[in-house]
């Protein structure tokens, strides 16, 4: 027996597959991407009896092996390719006790690939509640496998599943369905053309156009003795296959499963009636949003203040402990404030992810998708666009990748073009710091002005996305038709472990993803802010001392004036002042200009840039927010961050296409530079005009 068993966790969406993965692996898991594509790959290690280890890979949720999306394709490719390093020794198909009939379709397909397969029936704790009884020995006999009846919620049956995995060699590999039954004549020809290959694998190669081993669709077509059928005929055969599978499943469940509806107690219908109601549904969703944004502010305040203070002290401590010099300044004035600028937002971002995870885990998010579908259809989009738009609140890049599920090119293109308007987590630090500077702390009806502003920005983002979609739908003359089906999972209490792992994972990827870029940009910016050409920079001390010789400035004020003079004549100051005429009408100064330009790499870099610039200019032990709040606008003489300039900046970031990675992904998904360039120009011009109007109107 190998010391490590490769296990593939496969299942329909919403069967609790991730909960099974978490229960088996605990914290021994890592999340990455499949090579070359942005589809999440979750792997983990599970310790089995007798010192054996299992390498578990959590495959994307799929309803069948008839792939219609990139995620589903991945599952098929892995199961067909024995040479893949992740090819499973055993497949664990996770099903949900309440949707066994539908879930078994995928199981029977995987079983027919002759891979040792274990059937996991999850959520067994709900059987009594739903009046469900299962005859496990009968099901095991008919489905030709071993069944693990488990409940990840109640932690029941996990050890039994581990035992089954470690004894996977005892599992039968007899298929559930004889592939020849789909079309005897056709499969006979196929068998003669490829005598050494498994028929069902060949069938998948022909119908899915995927490769396995050395055989691909072109090679099948190239065999003279075998002529494949037209696509329409193949589709008909696929339908026949599905019908045959369901006949088998129905016959099996007729004896193996009984449901007594008289004993079932179900709140789901009642809850759905309220939560998806055409008036109450939206009202409840609105109240939930208000609660989330209020909580983000109330709960995160204390840890944020602690982090802010800690970074200011760390910077000062570094200066005191290290020998004086350029490198010490780089660490104390460049790197620490730059990183501190982003770390401070971890509490708020973690709370946002916490709420999203709870909504997803409880099953409520699918109801939100259903509610949004009603709105989207009026704007010419189906609910299929809702999923990318909602996932765009985390990051636009996976959201744009998720549009691959949309069959209609027109709808997909529109969704790709409007998704960057939804408020991604990278905008959050920018919004939070500006809101703190310009929006007062007061409350109305118990709700703070600051959380209300933040929620308004999210709604503006979503509203702009929907309105732009409507306009694009009218402009783009591409004919297409699409449909949308969404599964409504059962309501359930979120599992603490699942929520905690999701929050940890998402926060980690946010911090480390942006952290490396911010670190590098902080170093470059510090250098540009600390060095400069010409007399004005090199003789700053003499120039300022002479200029203020007649004024009675204290030593501290004089040092401050020298630092400001140097910064203004540094490389960054010169660049900033060159772009200042363009941004001056919006109420910004050159420092904000530099932050806007550098944040084109990633929006959150805006905060890190300002933190570095203000830190170079001011040596005081003070938080970055306080330094920014004190700064003055050289043109007006008043404060730099006022309500007018703040709102202008918030609106600029709400609409501008400030993300290089998103542009790259749009180019890749549309296979043309035309769309990302149009997106960049239109969004930037729109953002500029709105920010200009806002500032000129409010100043």
């Amino acid at each position: 027996m190998p010391k490590q068993i490769n296990v593939a966790l496969i299942g329909n969406p919403n069967t609790g597959k991730t909960s099974v993965f978490n229960a088996l692996t605990g914290l021994n898991q890592k999340v990455g991407n499949y090579p070359g594509i942005t589809v999440e790959k979750k792997e983990g290690i599970c310790k089995l009896p007798r010192g054996v280890k299992a390498h578990i890979i959590d495959l994307p949720g799929t309803y069948s092996l008839n792939a219609s999306s990139l995620d589903e394709n991945l599952v098929i490719e892995l199961l067909l390719n024995k040479k893949d390093k992740d090819f499973p020794d055993v497949a664990v198909v996770v099903s949900d006790v309440e949707n066994l009939k539908r879930n078994l379709l995928l199981y029977t397909q995987i079983k027919d690939l002759e891979i040792p397969t274990i059937l996991v029936i999850n959520m067994s704790d709900r059987m009594e509640y739903k009046g469900i009884q299962l005859d496990i020995p009968y099901l095991e006999k008919e489905l030709k496998t071993k069944i693990a009846l488990i409940s990840t919620r109640k932690k029941i049956g996990i050890n039994g599943l581990k035992d089954l995995i470690s004894n996977y060699k005892d599992l039968s590999i007899t298929p559930c369905l004889n592939a020849s039954e789909i079309d005897n004549t056709y499969f006979d020809k196929l068998r003669h053309a490829f005598p050494n290959q498994l028929l069902y694998k060949l069938w998948l190669v022909i119908t899915q156009d995927v490769n396995f081993g050395t055989i691909d669709r072109n090679q099948v077509d190239a065999i003279d003795s075998f002529k494949t059928k037209s696509n329409a005929d193949l589709k008909r055969l696929q339908q026949k296959e599905t019908i045959k599978r369901y006949q088998f499943i129905n016959n099996t469940l007729k004896k193996g499963q009984s449901i007594d509806l008289s004993t079932a107690k179900d709140l789901r219908i009642k809850l759905d009636r309220i939560l998806t109601h055409k008036v109450w549904g939206y009202l409840i969703f609105f109240v939930i949003l208000l609660t989330i944004f209020q909580a983000i502010y109330d709960w995160a305040q204390v840890p944020m203040e602690l982090i802010d203070g800690a970074f200011a002290s760390l910077s000062e401590w570094t200066k005191n402990i290290m020998p004086q010099g350029a490198f010490t300044d780089l660490i104390a004035e460049g790197i620490i404030p730059g990183l501190g600028g982003i770390v401070i937002f971890i509490p708020q971002i973690a709370f946002l992810f916490l709420f999203i995870a709870v909504l997803e885990e409880s099953g409520y998010m699918s109801r939100v998708v259903f509610l949004m579908d009603r709105i989207m259809r009026r704007f010419g989009l189906s609910g299929k666009s809702v999923v990318p738009l909602i996932s765009g609140t985390a990051c636009a890049i996976p959201a744009i990748m998720a549009t691959r599920n949309i069959e209609s090119w027109k709808e997909r293109l529109i969704t790709i073009l409007v998704t960057p308007f939804t408020t991604c987590s990278a905008r959050l630090p920018v919004y939070l710091i500006i809101i703190e500077l310009v929006i007062p702390e007061g409350r109305i009806f118990g709700l703070g002005y600051q959380p209300l502003t933040l929620m308004l920005l999210y709604l503006i983002g979503f509203g702009t996305a929907v309105c732009s979609a409507w306009i694009l739908n009218k402009i783009l003359k591409i004919k297409s038709k699409t449909f949308f089906v969404v599964e409504m999972p059962n309501y359930k209490l979120p599992l603490f472990k699942n929520v905690a792992l999701t929050v940890l994972e998402k926060t980690k990827s946010f911090v480390f993803g942006a952290g490396k870029i911010i670190l590098a940009i902080s170093i470059v910016l510090w250098f540009l802010a600390s060095y400069g050409p010409g007399e004005n920079f090199n003789n700053a001390e003499a120039i300022v001392t002479t200029e203020y010789a007649s004024s009675n400035l204290s030593q501290q004020d004089l040092q401050q004036k020298i630092a400001s003079h140097k910064l203004e004549h540094s490389f960054i100051g010169i660049t900033g002042r060159a772009i200042e005429p363009v941004i001056k009408p919006l109420g910004y100064d050159w420092k904000i200009g530099i932050a806007i330009v550098s944040s084109f790499a990633a929006r959150e870099v805006f905060v890190g840039t300002l933190a570095t610039i203000y830190s170079v200019e001011d040596d005081d032990v003070d938080t970055i927010t306080n330094r920014m709040a004190k700064d003055t606008n050289r043109t007006t003489g008043g404060k730099l961050f006022t309500l007018a300039s703040g709102i202008s900046l918030l609106l600029f970031y709400a609409f501008a296409m400030q993300c290089m990675s998103t542009l790259a992904i749009v180019k890749r998904e549309t296979n043309s530079w035309k769309w990302p360039i149009l997106q960049l120009v239109i969004m930037s011009v729109f953002a500029y005009i709105v920010a200009l109007i806002a500032y000129q109107f409010l100043k």
């Binding site: 499949y34 090579p35 490719e77 893949d84 590098a520 170093i523 790499a601």
Partner: protein, 47 residues
């Protein structure tokens, strides 16, 4: 001596930071790791 070391460290950090940013945003292409040719391993663009 201290000044020289500190300046060397600053310029090394700067060079590393610039190199990282250029690589991150595609100006220096990353070396590709050889993978098998199966579709999906090295996004063939067929989807």
């Amino acid at each position: 001596m201290n000044t020289i070391i500190q300046n060397i460290l600053v310029f090394t950090s700067l060079a590393l930071a610039i190199w990282f940013l250029l690589q991150k945003f595609g100006l220096f292409p990353k070396r590709k790791v050889a993978t098998n040719k199966a579709c999906g391993q090295d996004d063939c663009g067929c989807h």
